[in-house]
Each structure stands twice: as structure tokens, then as C-alpha cells.
Symmetry: C2
Subunit: 415 residues, 2 copies
């Protein structure tokens, strides 16, 4: 993997300078990125058409083809995202804390870029622009390794971004796209400890599993979401129906969509018939326990496997529980620690759920679909972390930084 090591070497060289660029210049680059994307849509669309044609020939699924396709809307959204990032506060250089020690040492903690950020992703060419933008704003250099299916689109976008960098007098290698899209290049990237400070996988469960198992570079695990809503005994049933329908059907193919519903037995008879009717009307297939099936005649039988399944589809498992602790145990056991919600009007139950559920995002009376960088006010996101180290939940600009201690002394030595 000599080419990859050379890519790493170039990234590291670029990072030395780029980490110290001031905010004004970084914002100028982002705004020029946005302009250049809009000015060059034709070129990029040609490349995208090539990918789409090859994808069709390769028989890619409709879902992948949909992610792959660029359109005017998607150009507007990419460019808008870059402009949004330019508006956000620059986290770099912030002094997080500073204190004077008894010996007179002044010890501060300063926010600095991570250095070189690697991202392995699939199908969606807009990730190329999003990741580049977030890295630019945070003074990071990125090595992008997109999927084979989006290679032409990614290359077209990256070429335009690199031209902008060069025009602004910045090393082009602040953004690099790995040209080898073989499985071997992905595996080699996972071992690139000499050059990468972090590696983020964005894509399906297979990709993430491969990165967790093979990477010696520090990684952020993202993505898998077996999300629950629990309708408590004291729930406002209007809210319950509205939130469950939104969480399940507004966009079922994403990680923050609802996959499994728990209902307090005492309220099941009141809420399930109507909720079931509306879900079925929206085309949702329901798999439930015995009690659920008495209230929703169209429901099939849920098996043990259903409780752990992230369907990413219009399917919902439903279980009745006898108590809040039983709901909490179920979620902590079967959940993927992504987004979990309780519908309740009971103060103590709300607090207990918030305290005891172990997940990146715990909701009271709101749709799990809000777990995302834009909705949380971060402008953009580089992924949603489902691990506990470094970052948890939607990752924005701050999550692309680390810290260094800066210590002002006056001749102090240790006794």
C-alpha cells in the first residue's frame, strides 16, 4: 500500500500548516467551496451520470441508486451546508479551562484540531463535501475513501475543492480522495496509524463491523440504531400516536427511526387499536406479542430475534410490559444505545427513564428522529457516535477537535 502511505505523508505535511490557519481564511475557503460546487454542477452531474449508469449495469439496489444520485436539491443542500458551517463558531483555539496551581504554574487546556481525519464511506457523494467542510472549519486535513460506486462523482467534487484550496494559496492535500477503491485499500487505511489520528466509518452495518474488527487507528463507531419508544401508563395518547407515527414512518431507512415499541399493559387496550390502525394505514407491518395481537388483528407474531432487529424499513415490533423498570430493562438489553424515548405525563417516570436508560440520546415526549447534527443545532454532522469514547450522539465541529495542555511556568521544577 505504498500509494496510501504517500497519501498519508502528504496529509501529515499539509496538517502541520493547516492547523494554524485563522478563522477568516477557513471561512473564505468554505464559501468558495460552496460557490465552486454550484458553478460546476454540470461537470459533477456528468460524473454522477457515469456512476449512475455503471450502477445500473452492476444492478445496484434502488436504495443505493437513490443515495448515489445528485440533483439540484442535493447541490443546494451541499452548498447550503458549507455556508452554514462557515457561519458556525470556530471551536479551535478556545481555552476550555485554565487554573493556577499552588506552585504558580498556570495550566490551561486549549482546543486544537485532531490532525488527519480519515473517513470511509459508501454511495453518498454529498458526504465528500460535508466531511471536507467540517474538516476545513476545524483545521483538520482529511483523507476520504468513498465507495467504488460513487468514484466518479467523488473525484469530480474533490477536484473542484482542491482547485479552490490551490486558488487560496493552501496546500491541495488538505483534501485527498483515495484513488484505489478496492477492499484492500480500505483495510490498509484501517492500519494507517502513522498518519491518521482518527478513522470514521459511515455506512452500513457491514462496513462498521469491518472497521471495528480491523482498525488499529482510533475509530468512532457510528450508526446502528435499534431505537425504542415506550408508552407509559400515564402517557398523553395524542402525543403517543403522533410521535410513534413520526418516528416510524417519516423516514424509516435511517438510524434514528423507531424499530421497537413498548406499551404499558394498563394502557395497551386504549392506545393500540387506534395506533395500530394508523400504522397499518401507513403501510407498516406489525410484529407483536400475544397481547398486541389481540388489539391489532393485522399484527404478526414477534420472535425473540425481532427485539434486536434494526429493520430500517416499514416494520415495527411491539411488546407490552408491566412496568417502567421492565421497559428500561428491555431497552438496555436489546437496544443499540442510540435514541430511546418515553411518552409520559408522570414527572418521576420521566426522570427515572432519563437517568437509567444507557443511550446516546434519551427523549421525553419527542420523536427519536431528532437525533442528528442539524436538529441539535450543530449545523452539520460527521456521523452519529454509538460508542462512549470521545463522542456520543451527533458529532459536529467540537467532536473533530482534541485538546492540548499549555503550561506557563517561571522556572518551576519538580521536587
Amino acid at each position: 500500500m505504498n500509494a496510501l502511505a504517500e497519501t498519508g505523508e502528504r496529509a501529515k505535511m499539509a496538517a502541520m500548516q493547516f492547523a494554524h490557519l485563522n478563522t477568516k481564511r477557513k471561512n473564505d475557503i468554505l464559501l468558495s467551496f460552496a460557490d465552486a460546487l454550484l458553478k460546476n454542477t454540470t461537470t459533477i452531474l456528468e460524473a454522477n451520470n457515469k456512476d449512475m449508469k455503471e450502477g445500473q449495469e452492476m444492478g445496484l439496489s434502488g436504495a443505493i441508486m437513490d443515495r448515489l444520485m445528485l440533483s439540484d436539491d442535493r447541490f443546494a443542500s451541499m452548498a447550503g451546508g458549507l455556508k452554514d458551517i462557515a457561519q458556525l463558531e470556530d471551536p479551535i483555539g478556545e481555552i476550555i479551562e485554565m487554573k493556577k496551581r499552588p506552585n504558580g504554574l498556570l495550566i490551561g487546556k486549549k482546543r486544537v484540531p485532531l490532525g488527519v481525519v480519515g473517513v470511509i464511506y459508501e454511495s453518498r457523494p454529498n458526504v465528500t463535501a460535508d466531511v471536507s467542510g467540517l474538516c476545513i472549519k476545524t483545521g483538520n486535513v482529511c483523507i476520504l475513501r468513498g465507495g467504488k460506486e460513487a468514484f466518479n462523482s467523488n473525484n469530480a467534487i474533490v477536484r473542484i475543492l482542491r482547485d479552490v484550496l490551490a486558488e487560496q494559496g493552501i496546500d491541495r492535500n488538505v483534501v485527498q480522495l483515495v484513488q484505489d477503491t478496492s477492499r484492500e485499500s480500505a483495510i490498509a487505511m484501517m492500519k494507517l496509524n502513522a498518519f491518521l489520528d482518527i478513522l470514521i466509518p459511515r455506512g452500513g452495518a457491514g462496513l462498521i463491523k469491518s472497521v471495528v474488527e480491523n482498525s488499529t487507528v482510533p475509530i468512532i463507531e457510528t450508526g446502528v440504531g435499534n431505537c425504542h419508544v415506550f408508552i407509559d401508563e400515564s402517557a398523553d395518547l395524542m402525543k403517543a400516536v403522533k410521535i410513534v407515527l413520526n418516528a416510524k414512518t417519516q423516514r424509516p431507512g435511517v438510524c434514528n427511526a423507531l424499530e421497537s415499541l413498548l406499551v404499558h399493559r394498563k394502557i395497551a387496550g386504549e392506545v393500540l387499536p387506534e395506533l395500530g390502525r394508523q400504522l397499518v394505514e401507513k403501510g407498516v407491518e406489525i410484529r407483536g406479542d400475544a397481547a398486541v395481537r389481540t388489539y391489532i388483528p393485522q399484527a404478526g407474531e414477534a420472535t425473540e430475534a425481532d427485539w434486536s432487529t434494526e429493520y430500517l424499513d416499514l416494520i415495527l415490533s411491539i411488546r407490552t410490559v408491566d412496568s417502567l423498570p421492565e421497559a428500561i430493562d428491555h431497552i438496555n438489553h436489546y437496544g443499540s444505545k442510540h435514541s430511546e424515548c418515553i411518552i409520559t405525563e408522570n414527572y418521576s417516570n420521566a426522570q427515572e427513564f432519563l437517568e437509567k436508560i444507557d443511550a446516546a440520546a434519551v427523549y421525553v415526549n419527542a420523536s427519536t428522529r431528532f437525533t442528528d447534527g442539524y436538529e441539535f443545532g450543530y449545523g452539520a454532522e460527521i456521523g452519529i457516535s454509538t460508542q462512549k469514547l470521545h463522542a456520543r450522539g451527533p458529532m459536529g465541529l467540537k467532536e473533530l477537535t482534541t485538546s492540548k495542555y499549555i503550561i506557563y511556568g517561571n522556572g518551576q521544577v519538580r521536587e
Copy 2:
């Protein structure tokens, strides 16, 4: 590795409850830990004597035997550490940030325990008490895998701690010691993703390398310190001599000790003869470039390998440089990103060094030996991170936590 999975299962069960214990009860446990250690020194010393005897028979080195040995001083320090930890503020439950979004959602970020913390360590039985104490305070459960050479000592300490837990009505499995000290058990622990939220290696370069290469559990890389001092043209030479001697000789076998000295060429003739004399007097072997050797007659020749070497011994490499940028380039190239220092009276040079050096701790006019949890005011440390993810530099209580988003809604759904 069935026994290890069972250990993991027990830890996970214990963690569910332990994460929610209040501060008062956690502090009571810590103070009882401290008392119990002091009350049971005889039992622990017997076990330690057994380890020492076996170590002698196995021909362990003097350095390892020294780390292994427990003494009244070390008991006092272990117990004192636990009492210190009890005094520190409990980071758990802190709301790091909270804001209201335009749609009325109130989104907060709350500090919570990591869950199950694994630590693989060597020789020093005091790590057993330190890690247990830090984990207790932060609501974490720990799985300890100490070295074979300290097995009896570690077991004696852990047995006493577990008795304290049981007396306080807490699950003993909040602290567990892996009973299998084979290399295979360490490797198996590195794959224990189902149960471990983090794995921290504490020990020599070999252990750390093995963990980086083999672990699929998220890890914190600790330890290696090829630390530099740069004596700038404008340095106060009194401070320079004092700091270099302290950083090199006060405790040469540790990661924050000085390994390589850079001296501005313009000041080399003024500082090196006297500094060299004092270093040699302290028994330091010097390896220098040609200029250094003209000022310090006892100096040997430094080879390229010397610039990257962490001696952990009374050896110092010295190089002359022509400028501050040359010093910065040298350190960023050869350093291990641990602790780096400039001696200067020049304001701009101090600021440039603080900005451009990429390391966990960057000093102006103070000894690198201060990089440690106690000296930074964290009461104790679980290690010194040399990676950029999650934690950088000395890791105290906060670094044993993660966050979760708590979201208060009122029926919000995503449009």
C-alpha cells in the same frame, strides 16, 4: 475464554446499578477502602512477599522488583490516594450544556459513567487500588488484569476491596481481578467488546503496542514519552540549567522525563559547557552532534536513532539548532507528542512554541516532569494519554466519563 466472558457479564450486571449510586455512598466506599487497606497491611504484605520471592526466583530485573514491592510508604500513598479521590468533586450528573431549540426541545448533555472499564497493567500492585478508586468515584465498574508477577498482591488487595463493597451492600463485582494471567487472557480481553466500554493499557511499550494492534475494544494509548526541552536564544540560563537537570535526573525512568535537548546555536557556547558539567556530575551520559561535542568533551556521538529514542535512563541526546522553527520541526518529527518545553524570555517565541508544537502538554519555562494527574490537580490519574481521541495528557476523573443527551419534549415530531 468462557471465564472472561462470565467476568464481563458480571461486570455489566453490576454496572447497571452502580452507575446510579449517589456521591455520598461512593465516598463512603472510598474511605472504607482506605481504612481496610491500612487495617490489612499484614495480609497484603504476606502476599506481596510471596510475589517478591517468586520474582527473585524468576530473575526479574531490579526495576520490576522495585515496582512490585509494597512498603509502609506505598500503603500510606495508596490509602491517601483513595481519601484524596473521596474529596474530589463527583463529575457524574453534571449538565455540561443545555439549550432550547427553536422548536421548543430542551437539549442537554449530561455527564455519565463509561460503564465497564478494563485495565491491563504490569508489576505495580498500587495500580489495583488507584484504578478501583477512580472507577468507584465515577460510577464505573472495573475489570483488572494485572501482571502474573504481582498476582498474589493484586488478589489480596482486590479481596479486601470486594469485602468492603459487600459490607456496604454493593455488588462485589464492581471490582474484579482476572484470575488468568496468561498472554491469551490479555488478548481475549482486548476482544471483549460485548462487555468493555474502554480498555486502558498501563505498562511498557510492548504491552501498549500489543493492545493497539490487537484490541477491538476502544482503547486509550498511554505512556511513551520522547520529551524535549528547547533552550532558545533568549533563554534565562539559570532557569535552563535548573529545568534541564530536573527534567532529566529527578526520575529518569518515567514517561515525562527529558530525553532530548535542543539548544539554539547562538547560545550553545554559553550554556552547554556548564550544563554539560552538571549533567555529567549527575551521572548522565550525553550523546550530541558535532557542535555539542566541542562544548562537552565527555559527550559521545549521537546517531539518527538517538533522536527517536526514549531512554528511560540517565542518557540525554543533545542537538544544536539554528532557529525556533527548526526546533519545532525537530520536535514534531521525532517527538512522541507527550511533553515538550521551551526555555525562553521572548514573548513571541513562547507563543509560537505553544501554538505549533503538537503534544499533550506544551511548557514554557517549567520542567516536563509536571505532566501527571497529581501535579495537574486531578488528585490521581488513570494514565497519561498520548492519543488524541477522548483524552489527551493526564487522565483523571472526568476522563472516565462520557455523556448522554437528555431531551425534554412536549410532543415534538420531525417535519
